[in-house]
Symmetry: C2
Subunit: 638 residues, 2 copies
């Protein structure tokens, strides 16, 4: 269904800013224009962090219009977002300032466009962010380099408030004091709401001012949605703390700038979850918010004797989604986990601020006494899981795969060396969805955890296999890393028959000839089944095997499979190095078969691209057509 959307062109930003002489009203108008475009970009992309972009919009506007010296120029002051979730708002502001091409307004979360989280491939993005808690450290490194080169620019870093739950922030503070980093100002976008809900409910920050002060930082506090307060806060930061690092704790409202999304109005009494973290708003919400923002700009323009806002309209046709199972795998997982917890009182669940995305709502509601929320503190969570296991519990630990395999990597290993039985459930695994960008695309998890002793990595392909996987975890003597794809499961994969799980063994999901492809999970299996259709037209009868075990393979089973194969290809939703293809090839070679099939592993050979699902699959040659072409080469035709 086509709808009409509206956006503001860069020259219109310029006209309006030039026409408003009052600096505070100029900031207000600029921020409102940025919000209009942010809204447009997110609706067009179908996702994006709206609440976080809106809360920060006035800070970004004030910094770029008034505070920073020569932003975007060589040697000029630098600003970047450590939280990175406010990317659409930042892009919209930079487009308004003419620092990014306005054509990119239409390319949020698209390939060769603007990634879901900031990436150095985009102009004026000094760092990749979206992985939380790294920004202060990066700024420190940059300042140390600047000093070696005699550069004196100031560096402004925006952090979230939920982001401060990450220990790395607190690691980073001491060094900035030691080096007297007067160049460094951190602005905390203190909007009080993190991914799921109120920060205070997730993991209360306590007295934030006292914390920063106790670490030796200069602290200023202000209303971060008020341009006048922002101005005086930055002045106070410079005047009161000229010799060291300073933090401005900017009290903001998530979704600020329009009533539709502002947290205080959009989170009603008794409501637990903020609805505008990263999803696109409804059509009605879009229209209401857009109208409200346009009104606020026009009111300012009228007051300053300027012509009303000129919008540019675009017809928008949402991309139709492929046929998919109704429920995502993390949701199925969450229901199965709650069922298991009903049977086994030892089961506890640990979360890092992602109950919505890891399927934990049923568990947290049914077993509140066994549900532990750690906030964005994955290292703490994983070590605490070790403590819970030591105390007799069976912990299930949750986060996005991208964070869960890497941030607490040493802690997972430590639990393993203690022989604790822990289940790690990482959702959002793999290349898809590709819209958030590579900080959220977990394609290195098999490698990073594959050698942890006593840890099995298991990727279920559909709802039935997810339920089997949870049952397996309930009784397994080994720890398990559950690799859960959050992208929709195609109906044909959801319909695949159930086969009991047996460690290291796979099963044929499409019986064909001696051209054999191994894969796991809903993304690869869907593309392989699609490739099989394409190959059938060329007379090649592809055999597709689901091997859900990613770091273990049964040599006898594999030998049997290899005997029936002329070519054997492992296709992975992961870097081609360090994953299932390595495990399979090692086992094949050590099996010493009399005749070896031709072998190949296919997966990602470069950092995952941001884009739609189709764009990302094609870019990495993992779509059906590319796979068919790759499988075709050298395969015998029947």
């Amino acid at each position: 269904m086509t709808t009409t959307l509206h956006w503001v062109r860069t020259p219109e930003f310029t006209r309006i800013c030039d026409g408003i002489t009052d600096p505070y009203d100029r900031t207000r108008a600029f921020a409102a224009l940025s919000r209009i475009n942010t809204l447009y970009m997110i609706v067009r992309a179908g996702s994006g962090h709206l609440g976080s972009s809106f809360s920060a919009a006035d800070i970004v506007a004030h910094l770029h219009l008034h505070e920073m010296r020569a932003p975007f120029e060589e040697g000029g002051d630098l600003y970047f977002s450590s939280k990175g979730h406010d990317a659409p708002g930042l892009y919209a502001s930079l487009i308004g300032l003419g620092a990014l091409d306005e054509g990119l307004t239409h390319a949020l979360r698209r390939i060769d466009g603007l990634p879901g989280h900031p990436d150095v491939g985009t102009p004026h993005m000094p760092f990749n962010t979206g992985s939380l808690g790294m920004g202060i450290s990066k700024a420190k490194g940059l300042i140390l380099a600047d000093r070696l080169h005699g550069r004196g620019r100031r560096v402004h870093v925006l952090t979230g408030d939920g982001e401060l739950q990450e220990g790395q922030n607190w690691e980073a503070l001491a060094g900035a004091v030691h080096h007297g980093m007067h160049e460094l100002t951190v602005i905390v976008d203190h909007n009080k709401i993190q991914s799921d809900t109120w920060v205070s409910r997730v993991s209360d920050l306590g007295d934030l001012e006292a914390k920063f002060r106790s670490f030796g930082w200069g602290v200023v506090r202000c209303d971060g949605n008020d341009p006048m307060e922002l101005e005086s806060a930055f002045r106070k930061r410079a005047d009161s703390f000229p010799d060291g690092p300073g933090v401005i704790i900017a009290d903001t409202v998530k979704g600020a700038g329009c009533r539709t999304f502002a947290a205080t109005t959009s989170m009603r009494e008794g409501e637990h979850m903020y609805r505008y973290h990263s999803g696109a708003p409804s059509r009605a919400d879009y229209e209401a918010a857009h109208a409200e923002l346009v009104d606020s700009v026009n009111e300012l323009l009228l007051r300053h004797g300027q012509e009303p806002l000129a919008l540019t309209s675009v017809e928008h046709e949402p991309v139709p989604a492929p046929r998919a199972a109704a429920r995502r795998l993390p949701q199925v997982y969450g229901e199965a986990l709650a069922e298991l917890a009903g049977r086994d009182p030892r089961v506890v669940a640990l979360d890092a601020d992602l109950v919505l995305d890891t399927g934990l709502i049923p568990f947290s509601e049914q077993f509140p006494e066994r549900f532990f929320e750690f906030g964005i503190a994955e290292q703490d969570m994983v070590s605490a899981a070790g403590g819970l296991a030591a105390g007799g519990a069976v912990p299930f630990v949750h986060s996005f795969s991208c964070f869960l395999h890497s941030r607490p990597n040493e802690q997972i290993y430590n639990n393993a060396t203690e022989g604790r039985r822990v289940v790690y459930a990482g959702s959002l695994a793999g290349l898809l969805p590709a819209a958030p960008g590579h900080s959220h695309q977990a394609v290195r998890d098999i490698s990073a955890l594959g050698a942890v002793p006593g840890l099995l990595i298991l990727e279920p392909a559909n709802a039935d296999e997810v339920r089997s996987a949870v049952d397996f975890c309930a009784t397994s003597q080994e720890s398990v890393y559950l690799r859960l794809v959050s992208a929709p499961v195609r109906a044909e994969v959801d319909a695949l028959p159930t086969v009991p799980l047996s460690v290291g063994r796979g099963h044929v999901v499409r019986r064909g000839g001696r051209t054999v492809a191994i894969g796991s999970g809903p993304v690869v299996l869907a593309q392989l089944l699609g490739a099989a259709e394409l190959l059938a037209a060329d007379g090649i009868d592809l055999t597709v095997v689901n091997l859900p075990w990613l770091n273990r393979v049964d040599p006898a089973w594999l030998a049997g499979l290899a005997e029936g194969a002329d070519t054997l290809t492992v296709v992975e939703n992961h870097y081609t190095h360090g994953g299932q293809a390595d495990t399979v090839s090692r086992a094949l070679l050590e099996a010493g078969l009399p005749a070896m099939p031709r072998f190949r592993g296919l997966g990602l050979s470069e950092v995952p691209r941001c884009g739609t699902e189709a764009e990302a699959l094609a870019a990495h040659s993992l779509d059906s057509a590319s796979l068919a072409a790759a499988l075709c080469s050298g395969a015998p035709t029947h």
Copy 2:
């Protein structure tokens, strides 16, 4: 050279404690006895953390003699050390209390004995520690489990002060407040000196009391080497903060209890480095300290009308070391790095409190403006390296391999996705030395980082190859993880001729027949050369290949090597999964050779054992004899 050492048997601890009714003097006597045995254990083992054990001895004594309810009993109060570096002192105390078998006194850092850092395989060690900063999180998990089971025991966790530089500690604090964890008491062994030198020089902790208070914890401070002050501190903690977590900041002296090692006397004016972090003291220091400790016990005994201390004597013969090159690889590396920095002003060095062990002394002295000390804050250090690289520097990042590949795993990946060129130099790589225990034995680093895009993993085998590796890093377009073995290099490996480095290609270091073994680094090559000698006696002429590239192999070079091989074995100083054997087998299989050699990978299949070098190699079947036996099976004799 045989020497006589002295220790105190468990019954003598009991006699002395029973004979001293004054509780403070009893603590003093117990702590002194523990120190006598700690000293004995470390001298006998040849290494161990003396200063850290001595600073904590009075705390451990007070807790176990007075504070804890029913320690070692089911449901009794629990104590553990998060820093773990004070393991010898803890073992000595537990042996004195009869909680560990006194025979273990002679088995520090030996196989089936007492590991260099605490491990759950030893009675009354609830957690594996030595990996820093995990203890508070683990205690929280245990307390959550206790509450589910209706257990009310108290948990006491000892942390170091340097350890508090790790961000995970600060991640962990909020949750303890949220859950009102009155059961949890953290004691900070605030001895002011971390691995290298004064904490304040490394990364000053600032106002530690204010920090804990700002995170909502109850804070008490006391002299941690004074039993009376300890008693009142624990009372105050219980009385003043009955409803939440509490911390006792115990001011102590590293090496407390005897003048020989006490930091205030043993670190002279102008002296930069503490000499008793983990090495064994000299013979003279041993004798002086032992005499001093015995005197202090006897003084107490005399005052309480008891017989003097009865010591047990043991003849001690240090194990002779194998012929080895004079300098360790990290030292050679450090000199080469300083030379490089002289030529290339972009080179900067980052350290995490291990200048002594990573070879950074020359660099830090010659280029202080380009040397950045981060303290025990690996995540901060690695992200800052990304910032330095963004600012035009070429950062060389240093820590022990065990920490460097795992603690900042996500940060290393983030740098890679930005395309930054960073060199990570991890010393103490691999199984050896095996005395510190598995927290310090990095045998999972190749796997954990192997799939990071644009990151080469390189393990030089001897001094010449280290210098070549540094030169390679200076010009490489890719980032490099340098895997530096700290164990002594055998003379025969040090004498191997220099061959220019070429990515993915190895070279023959012993030309033999068609039984071919690939390895890298000084440990594996030494054992393979030894195995070749043994096999020669059986008529098997082993070809030994040095392939220093651990996650990359040149297919053409490998195909050439495979053509000349009937059997090809990859031997690794790493888990057998996820390392070089996987990379080689994948490349071999994809090469599709007409005749494939028999292939096998050998490496660790379980968590590394603690012990002497010989013990650990034999335990994991990586010694020459085991390798010869493995390589023999199926090899053709000539």
